[in-house]
């Protein structure tokens, strides 16, 4: 690298104004000019500073974002009670005392009792495991499968894209409830995994379409052409240039879908094809309680509140992550 010159020192001869073919601008004046350095933007950093990247900047940003901290704490708490529910609830979620059915809160039983006389607080704590597992696993599966298939289809186009788009149309055409009744009624396994699998199977086309669209948008930008002109391969272009710029809509839809999956689990349980007792889940409790809402609203409100808080936490997290990955919003 040669010695950097004074940027004002132009090696060429400037032209007199209006010379030649009648130039529309004044070339002589500009050399006096202003190599505008961005004014008044603090924090440009000095040279000894560590190199920064999108991800390290995003993390710095997130650590200072109260919304991220609150939502992350709620999610960590949910994960904790899913793994070790016994720490916070000493009773058995299946133990029933019919004499106390539908009673309100009392000493030692802050959330009251349900239809069968089981402790609602204990069931809310124990129900987190099934609900969070279904919501998080279904969302992760849908986002990974959908964005991989949709993103590759959008990037490579051609035959692969045409076939994949038609397949996703077919899956879009399957009604969720009817599909659930058909698929899940033949499965006798009563764990959460058939439900998760079913949700991924029907859910991926939604994310695939969004990912495909945003990859096609990102692909057309000149910076992708610039990377290709430099000799970058498909892997680098996809991971460094397209993925960060196509991720935002996928994050938003994914986090909203998470709540939908938890409520879909409740619907399927209500229809008798989702999770079955003795599995404890918010969905099962919500559907049980919904018929008694006028007699004993507490039976519905506590599990429904837990569900809403979970969905809200994930949506807030998704929002904070999306904003942190957009340098323009910093």
């Amino acid at each position: 690298m040669p010695e950097p010159q004074n940027p004002f020192d132009d090696g060429r001869q400037a032209v007199a104004p209006g010379g030649g073919a009648g130039g529309g601008f004044d070339l002589a004046a500009e050399e006096a000019g202003t190599l505008d350095k961005v004014p008044g933007q603090g924090g440009g950093g000095d040279l000894s500073e560590k190199p920064r990247s999108l991800w390290s900047d995003a993390w710095r940003d997130l650590r200072r974002n109260p919304i991220f901290i609150i939502s992350a704490l709620i999610i960590l708490f949910l994960i904790f009670i899913s793994l070790w529910p016994g720490v916070l609830a000493s009773q058995d979620p299946l133990q029933a005392d019919l004499s106390k059915a539908q009673q309100g809160s009392g000493p030692g039983h802050p959330f009251g009792y349900d239809q069968q006389g089981r402790d609602v607080y204990t069931r809310v704590i124990y129900g987190a495991r099934a609900s969070v597992t279904v919501g998080v696993c279904a969302t992760l599966g849908v986002v990974i499968l959908g964005s991989a298939l949709g993103g590759l289809a959008g990037y490579f186009g051609g035959w692969w894209d045409a076939i994949l788009s038609r397949i996703s149309d077919v899956f879009f055409g399957i009604p969720v409830i009817l599909g659930g009744l058909v698929f899940l009624s033949v499965i006798t396994n009563s764990t959460v995994w058939p439900v998760v699998g079913f949700m991924i199977l029907l859910g991926w086309p939604q994310i695939a379409r969004i990912a495909r669209g945003s990859v096609i948008t990102a692909k057309q930008n000149d910076y992708v052409q610039a990377a290709r002109a430099l000799g970058a391969g498909n892997k680098r272009i996809l991971l460094r240039h397209i993925a960060p710029n196509a991720l935002a809509p996928v994050i938003v839809v994914g986090t909203i879908a998470l709540g939908t999956y938890i409520s879909l689990e409740a619907t399927l349980s209500y229809l008798g094809v989702g999770l079955r007792p003795p599995t404890v889940s918010w969905g099962i409790d919500i559907s049980d309680a919904s018929s008694q809402i006028r007699n004993a609203p507490h039976m519905l409100l506590w599990p429904a509140g837990a569900l809403s808080l979970t969905v809200l936490a994930f949506i807030m997290l998704g929002d904070a992550v999306r904003d942190a990955l957009d340098p323009k919003l910093r």
């Binding site: 690298m1 030649g20 073919a21 961005v38 933007q41 930008n221 430099l230």
Partner: protein, 356 residues
Amino acid sequence: MSEQPVMVKEPVRPSHEPILEVRDLVKHFPLTQGILFKKQIGAVKAVDGVSFDLFPGETLGIVGESGCGKSTVARLLVNLEEATAGQIRYKGEDITKLSGRALKAVRRNIQMVFQDPYTSLNPRMTVGDIIGEPYEIHPEVAPKGDRRKRVQDLLDVVGLNPEYINRYPHQFSGGQRQRIGIARGLALRPEIIVADEPVSALDVSVQAQVVNLMGRLQDEFDLSYMFIAHDLSIVRHISDRVGVMYLGKIVEIGGDEEIYEHPTHPYTQALLSAVPVPDPEAREHRERIILAGDVPSPANPPSGCRFRTRCWKAQERCSLEEPLLAVPPVFRGTAGPAEHESACHFAEEKQVVPGE
């Protein structure tokens, strides 16, 4: 106007071998019908037989109106499009058929500066990552520990503060962004830079800064430029030679003075007559050549001379016989400035720029 000094520029004479030879370059984009089973029903002849040479250290300007194929030529040169036919010889080696490692090696030497600085920089990468990316793709150019220093040097060379290395593109103005784009193009120390309308998206006052920066860098790094634009004044300012394109073909090519002061092709004359004249008195006396009609579709270009449908000189010969890009017989051996290649059967000089 007559006292105006004329541009002072040492012409780069083709004293040695051309660094880039383009021969009969053709790019047709197929027009297809059908969704799954695509059937070709025609082709847009975006570039249809273009030949020129680029010499070391010179700037070749290419002008022409929108859709004439200028940008496609640029994209072909940097291998972003695959040529339908023809050759691009870089130091004698045809690069249109290269792939893999050999292509990557050639790419180091031919780099591109893009038109729109707002879309050519990844909004989610820091300036350091953008300018440093060439070194990650070509790790042999700079050892890892050295890269950051090089990026800062490049920022300095293009007139930006090296402290901006951790900033993102949206924190810069259009002109500054284009400087970043130029720094990225320079990172691999290429010999040729293809600039596709590098200043068209910029404010007029900033255009001059960027053009002069490019001029300075050319001397500093011994670059050859292929400079594409539709602003004739800018092309004249930076170019040693100028080629005029119309509908996928070069219609006239020569030194900048030959083209601007002594155009012999009617299309060039019409184009030059449209350049705004800042002097109101001179403006009243000048002749504007207003062309009739629109540019014909490149999917179905006219027979013979492609300009004949809009040319006031067109005769029957023009539709039957395609004029070749060569020095017209009337000027051959005159040794004057009109003796340059022009693809017209009825080439003649016509004074279009007033007062000179």
